[in-house]
């Protein structure tokens, strides 16, 4: 299924999601608000996106950008679910009830970005030691042990 067919199918089943669909770098993207993430993900699952490929986040400075890549084997199509999470309230709904594969990936995002996933069954650090302070992939992370690369290298 190509992107036009995917857009038509999405718009016919969920007209309210239609204006949120866009194409970025050749991939279908659905950009929703942080509060609407779970309902949009639920709609996409009902549409046939049965597999969660990956889930991650990006620090864009004033906010975090949340990315979730979904795959539908029946439709042979993939879509990215995107949302902006405010930095002062880094919390978003967990997708574990929909796709159990989100469990460890949300723990990793929590570990490295400090984004809380409401409804996650076991939200704790997964890569770093439990007593670690701070979230290293945030742009404003400060650790005195880190040695900055000088400009001449």
């Amino acid at each position: 299924m190509n992107l036009d067919d995917l857009r038509d199918h999405l718009c016919s089943v969920y007209p309210d999601l239609c204006p949120l669909f866009s194409v970025e770098f050749g991939d279908g993207v659905l950009t929703v608000g942080p509060d609407a993430l779970f309902s949009a993900a639920n709609d996409l699952k009902n549409l046939g996106f049965d597999r969660l490929l990956m889930l991650t986040a990006v620090d864009r400075g004033e906010h975090f950008e949340y990315h979730c890549r979904l795959l539908s084997r029946a439709m042979s199509a993939a879509i990215t679910l995107k949302t902006e999470i405010p930095r002062d309230r880094p919390s978003v709904a967990s997708l574990v009830p929909l796709w159990p594969a989100a469990d460890w990936q949300e723990r990793e995002v929590f570990d490295l970005f400090g984004i809380r996933f409401a409804g996650h069954p076991d939200l704790r650090r997964i890569l770093l030691p439990d007593e670690w302070e701070g979230y290293p992939l945030r742009k404003d992370y400060a650790d005195p042990r880190v040695i900055r690369r000088p400009d001449y290298i």
Partner: protein, 186 residues
């Protein structure tokens, strides 16, 4: 010339297979010839460490072969990047090894953190932060020949040692251990 070769040459010259030597020389000869290794392979250097054990390089001919239990081993070969999360486990494995024990740091990551020296929050910049290292081997990763050279150098170090408690080579460790809190985030 290594003491191993000297003892072999002396046996050649000895008519009845009797040679006169010191207890330390005999002990160092025995220790140097059977350095069972604790393979602390955490990253890509472990591939070279594994290759060193197999038939092409066959480190068993030096008496060096990996054992699965630190309590069986004499030398810990730290082959790979050590993260702050891994550091307490490596330290604990080292403490489980019986004396006398030695450490070979294999690869640039064990020397200084290697390519992870700059801009990394998770990697220990050199295992000498928490282990008393006898021999460092540079390389990313070093070839098994370099590891072989490292083991022969370690054997030369062992030859200088004595089993007398008063003459034991001191390895003071003044750097902080994980128990002192250097494994925790700031």
């Amino acid at each position: 010339m290594a003491i191993v070769d000297r003892i072999g040459a002396a046996l050649d010259r000895s008519p009845g297979g009797v040679i006169l030597t010191g207890v330390d020389a005999l002990a160092d000869w025995a220790r140097g010839k059977s350095l069972w290794s604790m393979p602390m392979g955490t990253a890509c250097c472990a591939m070279e460490l594994i290759a060193a054990s197999f038939n092409k390089f066959d480190f068993d001919r030096h008496g060096t072969f990996p054992r699965p239990d630190p309590r069986h081993t004499d030398v810990m070969i730290v082959a790979g990047t050590i993260t702050y999360k891994m550091m307490p486990a490596v330290k604990r494995l080292y403490e489980q090894m019986p004396d006398p024990k030695w450490v070979i740091g294999m690869g640039n990551c064990t020397v200084s953190g290697g390519i992870f020296y700059y801009d990394t929050y998770s990697v220990v910049r050199g295992i000498e932060e928490f282990l008393p290292v006898d021999v460092f081997i540079a390389g990313c990763p070093p070839r098994p020949e370099s590891l072989q050279d490292g083991i022969l150098r370690l054997r030369e170090l062992i030859e200088q040692e004595s089993i007398a408690p008063g003459k034991r080579r001191e390895r003071p460790l003044t750097l902080p251990s994980p128990e002192d809190g250097c494994g925790e985030g700031e």
